[in-house]
Symmetry: C3
Subunit: 264 residues, 3 copies
Amino acid sequence: MIQSEKILSAVRAQSALIHNITNYVVMNWTANCLLAVGASPVMAHAGEEAQAMTGLASALAINIGTLSEPWVKSMRLSMDTAQHKKIPIVFDPVGVGATSYRTDTARQLLDDACPTVIRGNASEINALAGLESTTKGVDSVDASNLAIESARKLANSYECVVCVSGAIDFVVEKNKIYEIKNGHPLMARVTGMGCAATALIGAFVATGESPFDATVAAMTVTGIAGELSAKKSSGPGTFQVNYLDFLDQMDGNLIRTYQKAKLL
Amino acid sequence: MIQSEKILSAVRAQSALIHNITNYVVMNWTANCLLAVGASPVMAHAGEEAQAMTGLASALAINIGTLSEPWVKSMRLSMDTAQHKKIPIVFDPVGVGATSYRTDTARQLLDDACPTVIRGNASEINALAGLESTTKGVDSVDASNLAIESARKLANSYECVVCVSGAIDFVVEKNKIYEIKNGHPLMARVTGMGCAATALIGAFVATGESPFDATVAAMTVTGIAGELSAKKSSGPGTFQVNYLDFLDQMDGNLIRTYQKAKLL
Amino acid sequence: MIQSEKILSAVRAQSALIHNITNYVVMNWTANCLLAVGASPVMAHAGEEAQAMTGLASALAINIGTLSEPWVKSMRLSMDTAQHKKIPIVFDPVGVGATSYRTDTARQLLDDACPTVIRGNASEINALAGLESTTKGVDSVDASNLAIESARKLANSYECVVCVSGAIDFVVEKNKIYEIKNGHPLMARVTGMGCAATALIGAFVATGESPFDATVAAMTVTGIAGELSAKKSSGPGTFQVNYLDFLDQMDGNLIRTYQKAKLL
């Protein structure tokens, strides 16, 4: 069993600096999720300081949600620095597949510097891997199988961990798959839940635990916080507020009581 | 009577993609309002993908709140694409009248591509139309009359719908004016309520209903959600949270009970 | 005794326009804090309108949290305009000391236009002043003394007020130090509390009261709102919501009951 409780404690003990180059839409939410769980966020995107800031951090989270050329250039500089200094990189291919600019940019960034973890939804992971559903109206088992195949392909290409998040989250490494059944449909009604999960994975990987275990722990924490928040909420507004409170309150007791994670 | 309930149901059934090029201040709030009402937001502003992203969307919402040249260029590309593909454009002239850069940019954008709906407050609509109050301390009837005259002028120039939002919202087309008396003063104490209304109009227009009816429906929903939230709130913080919950909970029953909309 | 209640009333009576060139992470939060306290925020950063917008404002708040060259250029233009028009400038040196780009940029901006108030945490104020703790594990009295020395050095160099915020806030002028012991540890678990305090100082200085008194009043209000919110909150999510409500509800009675401010 993966020790999510122990990894969460390490996140809080270290309160590690996580350098985020992320999208405008979710910056505030991402910073608040990192603070709520016990980590220290920093956002900085200027080419003049990207490398210096990454060099101070214990993990780098890259998210291409609102990309443009100056930002892509800084993402490249920061990823390069992280790779040379062995700082873990978590990469979020937001919207890959929607436009060729996104797909091409994501692939170029990943070709230049190997990520430690990639996290996206099924459609992004499929598009990044170059696999696409050939049939309309695939059922959910087929859809999961395709996403897992895509994740495994990426995990092999980049020698990294891949997390496919959705109603069920899958964490995939070369020879290993974990599934996490925590979470709630209200999470899809709030912007940036996936983007914040990417940053949280950064905080968990920054502990030095194995990237696979850290990713499972981060997704377990986010899923349980989502579930508990949904129970207390009357809609997506109260949900957001409660979610931050539950990230703060998450502990071994809640994890042991609610986690639905297992090796497949 | 405009069937706001029916149009809201269509918004939710379609969950249409709304492409927003909007200001930094309100991006998160706008995305969350769109999600709460049942639509699908996307934000993307790079020149490299603006046209491709607009081409995927069912409506384009343009907001010049924090404009700069690279963004204006992308707004132009996206508006051009929307016009050619007959994708409705909702335009928000934030701060027009405050600086000549804003006023000139807004007019140039609108001259290049005709909007489907323009939404602003009275001062922005007056400035965009080139009409200004010549007397100090005009009373509220005079102020409304001036704003309606400005709206009608813009509606004729651009052959579009114009919404003037304020304590009373007016929706104006060539020969038609609707007034909506929903809403609450707390709405003016939260940033981005107008900007989010613009995006919501995008979601309602995306249903294919007439832009006039869709705009009335969107403003009715936002006004009622504002009223109900204010009743439950102890200040602008709780108001925001409740507003998102009420956008999610809005239904035919609430609309029929609370709407104060009529043809003038 | 500084009349914080009277200055707060003036903020609300004037509802002055505060021009913010601030970081992406906190823009929404900052605008909402200004609205909640009763001021009128505007954000605009384009070189084409920076000077015009500053010219309309009653205070300029500059925050370098997510700086890049085009923004620095506009900060310079706006600060220059403010200086010539005698519009107060509040400067927030976010992250100074973390990278040389930040430290150099902050110093250049301050050399070009004298600020009215500088607000930062102890590490930023020390780095900006060029003083650094030479011993590891300094106790909190030593740390406070160093920060006050740094603040006094900056206050003398720039002939301005300097606020060092932290568990205890210090407001420093050439020959005067005030300490404010309001606040709560939860404030450090929400992003942008310091950035919003900078903007609130702008709103309070805009009243025309002495910058020293206005800064003490702003920090008193923010500290009391933080304390009261923390009491009502179950975590950093509910805290944010309550904080905005308390900024709105703040009044002479709450200030007189809770303030812990005194001249040292």
